[in-house]
């Protein structure tokens, strides 16, 4: 009876300890996915199997448990490694170019196409009425030749 009470107490204590740090692994993963693994360059901290990435995930987990927000945690890593650590370049300063250039390029391309198409359509519009009208003699000749051809 007494040992059962003790087991129950232990269970409650264990749950309390576990419950004290309710860190959502999904959130850990999301933060890690935005950070560049420092030893493997092209992988994120979430995807890298390296010891360093493992330790960095541990640090993210620890900071979440301490009540920090994902933005605060990312800011901590940027503070230590610079914006280099972020897999997506920041949307300000020189790096903003990376975000703007594709759209700017697309806009310029569309503009060039629009202008070219307009120029072409205007040129054809100008040339069409310039075709010389057929005179009466020519029309008769065409009619005659068509008839002759039909007879063969």
């Amino acid at each position: 009876m007494r040992s059962r009470a003790r087991t129950l107490l232990l269970l409650v204590a264990a749950l309390a300890v576990l419950g004290a740090a309710p860190v959502d692994e999904q959130v850990v993963r999301e933060i890690a996915a935005e950070l560049r693994c420092v030893v493997c360059q092209s992988l994120s901290v979430a995807d890298s199997p390296s010891e360093t990435a493992h330790q960095m995930r541990g640090i993210i987990r620890e900071r979440l448990a301490a009540g920090q927000t994902p933005d605060q945690i990312k800011a901590y890593f940027v503070d230590k490694y610079g914006t280099w650590i972020l897999l997506s370049p920041p949307r300000n300063g020189f790096s903003l170019l990376v975000w703007v250039m594709p759209f700017a390029g697309l806009a310029v391309g569309l503009l060039v196409i629009a202008l070219t198409v307009r120029k072409w359509s205007r040129r054809t519009a100008v040339t069409e009425p310039a075709a010389p009208p057929l005179d009466e003699a020519m029309q008769q000749r065409i009619r005659r030749e068509l008839v002759e051809r039909g007879r063969d």
Binding site: V39, E51, G58, K80
Partner: protein, 177 residues
């Protein structure tokens, strides 16, 4: 007139692209800039291999050299190890402190490394990698030179040489607090 202008525009459009590529290919993708130069060195307190404790805060007012290393870091850590031993030999009497931080390692090979190179300055393991991240470390070896006011002033990525060690430490020693 119009045709000649177009003939120039197309090759000229390539120029910015070439400039961007020239810039991109010249930078070393492995080179990670550190934003920490001139910033206060992150404090840490770690239990050393020798059974003592090492704390950066207690060393304010002294020039401190913090070296991150690992026994598996071959050959760079092995090549620079004699430089660290000589540096300690030459400078610890002049008030310079040196701390070795052993990362991602196991105690036995780490202790063997310290014995092999006769490193007698404090060395401590960084079991969860917190100190390494605090210093923006991405590999070993990396060495930080901290001035008397506790700011990181130089960072050496890769093996240390006697010349680099001496020049940085002499610079910081010459400064008043």
């Amino acid at each position: 007139m119009r045709a000649t202008r177009l003939r120039w525009v197309i090759p000229l459009a390539v120029v910015p692209l070439l400039l961007l590529l020239a810039y991109g290919f010249r930078t070393d993708p492995r080179e990670i800039p550190t934003p920490l130069i001139g910033k206060p060195a992150a404090p840490f307190t770690l239990p050393t291999f020798e059974g003592g404790q090492v704390s950066l805060d207690a060393l304010r007012g002294r020039v401190v050299v913090v070296n991150f290393w690992a026994s598996w870091c071959y050959p760079a850590c092995y090549e620079e190890a004699p430089t660290l031993a000589r540096g300690w030999e030459a400078y610890h009497d002049r008030g310079v402190m040196m701390i070795g931080i052993n990362i991602q390692d196991k105690p036995e090979p780490a202790k063997k490394f310290l014995t092999q190179f006769n490193h007698t300055f404090p060395n401590a393991p960084d079991p969860v990698g917190q100190v390494a991240v605090d210093y923006g470390v991405y590999g070993v070896p990396e060495t930080f030179f901290i001035d008397r006011r506790g700011r990181i002033r130089f960072k050496q990525v890769g093996g240390l040489t006697d010349e680099v060690f001496k020049s940085h430490v002499d610079t910081l020693l010459a400064e008043k607090e």
